[in-house]
Symmetry: C2
Subunit: 198 residues, 2 copies
């Protein structure tokens, strides 16, 4: 089993960054994304402008949220595990989701903001692309360098499955966060079954 | 077996659009993408400015090339086939590649231009996203609407596999175009094997 990921001294910094993201999302749902200014965000989050720019370059950065080092040392178990790849990926995805999304309201507000401002879609697509880029080296290390294209494709498949489940989740508020992970994983399982022999 | 796709009266229009794309790519490899103007493109392609804007909105459009209706009527066989999905996808991908890329030099020049101007990557990522969006309804019709997320993920997987093979191909000029398809398909097969049970 994987060890719980360590939470270092960066805890306070991360909390502030998340509070700023929350404030940005709230303001965007209230006024529309394009009407929101960094001054409004700083006021809502109860911080100075200077603190805002300590954490984010601009409001687009702030709405995406803090960059978390999701795949550090704590994921060495994944590289060396001799468990089934799909079930190990399920454990990994569960950890990623638990760490990335401590507050369900963030995801819900992202869904609302995207509904109002579809032009922001590329911003969030970029975060999916980031997840792919982070997963890729982990998978490459596990599968071996000669399987690099396979690692690349699996990283894509997994991050798309997660993104898809999250999008569904923003529509159906009744689902628990845990079920988002289950859904992503069962969709990957269906893909494998559908493309598999027989 | 699928019928050969019909080539309608749009043949001449398509040839002109491809000639403009070729000219744009050549100029971009010679002068760098950002130095190329629509006037230069029109001159190189031997057409008027007006003809250029008949085919493309701007040089970014021109470098991506003509929008082809890849998944029209001719793909009904794919929706109703009771063959294996992966082997049917292989036939489909072979047709898509054959139709989308009649001239290997286009792909090679795209590789060169991307090497010089990495900021153009989103432009070509958009063409991969287009392929995904075109594949999705075909797969949805075949798999049934209750499998919509699976259709979505398979469409992603297939277009990523094709894009990955093409990227490889631009580096290794010795490979035949046909092998690009084989490689995309064998990579998908590896993904299924790697994620599959046992």
């Amino acid at each position: 089993m994987p060890p719980a990921k360590e939470h270092a001294a960066s805890g306070k910094r991360l909390r502030t960054a998340r509070a700023i993201q929350q404030a940005t999302l709230q303001l965007a749902t209230e006024h529309g994304y394009h009407a929101v200014t960094t001054d409004m965000i700083a006021e809502r989050a109860g911080i100075s402008r200077r603190t805002f720019f300590n954490h984010y370059q601009n409001k687009q950065d702030a709405i995406v949220g803090p960059k978390v080092d999701r795949f550090g040392q704590a994921y060495d178990w994944f590289v060396t595990s001799d468990g089934g790849l799909l079930s190990d990926l399920q454990i990994l995805v569960r950890q990623v989701v638990a760490e990335a999304s401590p507050d369900p309201s963030v995801i819900r507000n992202i869904g609302k903001v995207l509904g109002d401002s579809p032009d922001l879609q590329p911003v969030f697509s970029a975060t999916i692309a980031n997840l792919t880029r982070e997963l890729e080296p982990l998978l490459s290390r596990r599968l071996g360098t000669e399987r690099e294209p396979v690692a690349h494709l699996i990283a894509h498949l997994v991050s798309q499955a997660i993104a898809h489940s999250f999008r569904d989740w923003t529509v159906d508020n009744e689902t628990a966060l845990e079920q988002v992970v289950e859904k992503a994983n069962s969709n990957i399982r269906f893909v494998v079954q559908t493309l598999g022999p027989g």
